[in-house]
């Protein structure tokens, strides 16, 4: 798609010695549009375009490649570096280790908690799921049903007070000899001060070794606002991008990574409980570029 869009461009750009400022700028004008269409946030697109300009202008033109294609390779490689970078696996330190999952409403947190529990179980750990969403109708039941499906125990506590549930789930894990606790929390708006304060309190009770921010791959420009607010207040460790089995380009991945500096760790690739994969920066780069 990207190369189709730029083919007509490339015909105009003639290779000769070095990539000129004008060649690069013309190509980047088109790339800006492509990135915005892929839902990369505007401020991130602007930063990214500046980086490419610095890298591309004055570069030696490769003899067998058209300048346009050369610029595209620079763009693709830079995207991969930005999306990947300091790779992070789950730390899972502590006895038990605690993973706290958070994010906006409907992003896929509860489903991800079950997927992560299965993932860890397959790697010889003994997870305990914790249902700390007491607000959404049947949220606790949803996690209980998922837990039964994968034969992982679910701690529900008093089903009323998320702080109390967080306080009691560690002892519950020790009683069951669970070595990893995965805490599902209610979806919440980044600008909902009361709910964000609750999340801060849950975090301080749990002291999780891994806090994961779960975001929907089809999120638009707003991704920078919500991710940076969650990063500011909760300082999560890593990001999960869900619903990647759809046809959304997923530019939110770059927005979130760029504006928070946190690594992308997992992607959700379906509704089933085994639809979880580690994040691949090169695949994501190709997807964003279309």
């Amino acid at each position: 798609q990207l190369t189709n869009r730029l083919e007509s461009f490339f015909k105009k750009l003639k290779g000769s010695g070095r990539l000129t400022e004008e060649q690069v700028r013309e190509t980047l004008r088109e790339v800006k549009k492509i990135l915005l269409e892929a839902d990369v946030s505007l401020s991130v697109v602007r930063d990214f375009i500046l980086r490419i300009e610095q890298k591309a202008v004055g570069q030696e033109v490769i003899a067998s490649v058209s300048p346009g294609h050369q610029i595209i390779k620079i763009i693709h490689d830079e995207l991969v570096v930005l999306l990947g970078g300091d790779y992070r696996t789950l730390k899972l330190s502590g006895t038990p280790a605690v993973v706290m999952v958070c994010g906006l409403q409907g992003s896929g947190k509860t489903t991800f908690c079950a997927k992560l529990a299965l993932w860890l179980k397959e790697r010889k750990r003994f997870p305990l799921l914790v249902a700390a969403d007491v607000y959404r109708p049947a949220a606790i039941e949803q996690l209980v049903v998922l837990g039964e499906k994968i034969s992982v125990p679910v701690f529900t506590g008093d089903r009323k007070n998320p702080l109390k549930i967080a306080q009691e789930c560690i002892d519950a894990a020790r009683e069951r000899s669970s070595d990893v606790v995965i805490v599902d929390t209610a979806g919440r708006l980044a600008i909902d001060n009361q709910m964000m304060t609750e999340l801060e309190k849950i975090k301080s009770i749990l002291s999780p070794s891994d806090i994961l921010y779960v975001a929907d791959a089809m999120t638009g420009q707003d991704a920078v606002n919500t991710a940076s607010e969650f990063a500011k207040r909760i300082n999560f460790h890593g990001v999960v991008l869900t619903k990647m089995d759809g046809d959304a380009r997923g530019g939110a991945a770059l927005s979130i990574r760029h504006v928070t500096g946190k690594p992308l760790q997992f992607i959700g690739t379906g509704e089933k409980v085994d639809a979880l994969e580690p994040f691949h920066p090169d695949r994501m780069a190709k997807r964003i570029l279309g």
């Binding site: 800006k32 949803q142 209980v144 999120t219 420009q221 991704a223 509704e271």
Partner: protein, 275 residues
Amino acid sequence: VTGKPKIDAQVLQNLEDILITADFGPTVSEKIIDALKKRVNRGDNQTDRLKVMLKEILIELLPNSSIPSVHVVPYVIVVVGVNGSGKTTTIGKLANYYRNLNKSVLVAAGDTFRAAAIDQLEVWAKRANVNFLSTNEGADPASVAHDAVFSAISKKYDVVLIDTAGRLQAKKNLMAELEKVIRVIKKVLPNAPHEVLLVLDGTTGQNALSQVDIFGKHSGVTGLVVTKLDGTAKGGFVFAIREKFDLPIQWIGTGEKITDLEPFDPKAFVDAVLD
């Protein structure tokens, strides 16, 4: 002295940035700013005045709010959309809305797939004080839809709200399943469903267009609901949608309570985008 005054390019860029960051999409944003440039007259090059003109342009692009009246009994509404967009919660709010109009309402649990989907909808039905129909998990959603419409006819319900499982439009088999649900409803009641509401998450980006396009093709969408506008997302994709589809926007979701549903108001919507 004649001719158009020169508008500060930075002012126009700032306005275009507002549209882009509101999810209008780069092409639609550019088109709207071009339209603004054409409209500008002498003395219009102040930011405030430009903003007023921009609001006028945006309001003109939007449909008037229009909640269809329940003009036939039973009035069948099917709610569709991608995973997590807010369908089930919206049905709870709609059930409450029609109940407050003294309609007899039946809510049908057409999501037979997702964990605790039936339980979730049942809680909403109780909150709205309306009747609830469900079958066992894993049943064919088309049979739930069939039973709901059949029951509505025989028990003389005014409104039937049918929930469906979330599905990504790229999944051909799931879109085929939805087609079957609509087809089965038509068989039981020829002019039904009377509404097919596509619920769009307000935080969605440009993928919203593909959702309208493909859900439209497979389920005959008649109207849109945009949820989660109580957050910081602006839902500007509705302007990109308006360019290609003539669909009314019926409701907006403004929270997680049963009363957090408002009829779409173009002026309020545009004010929220630009202020």
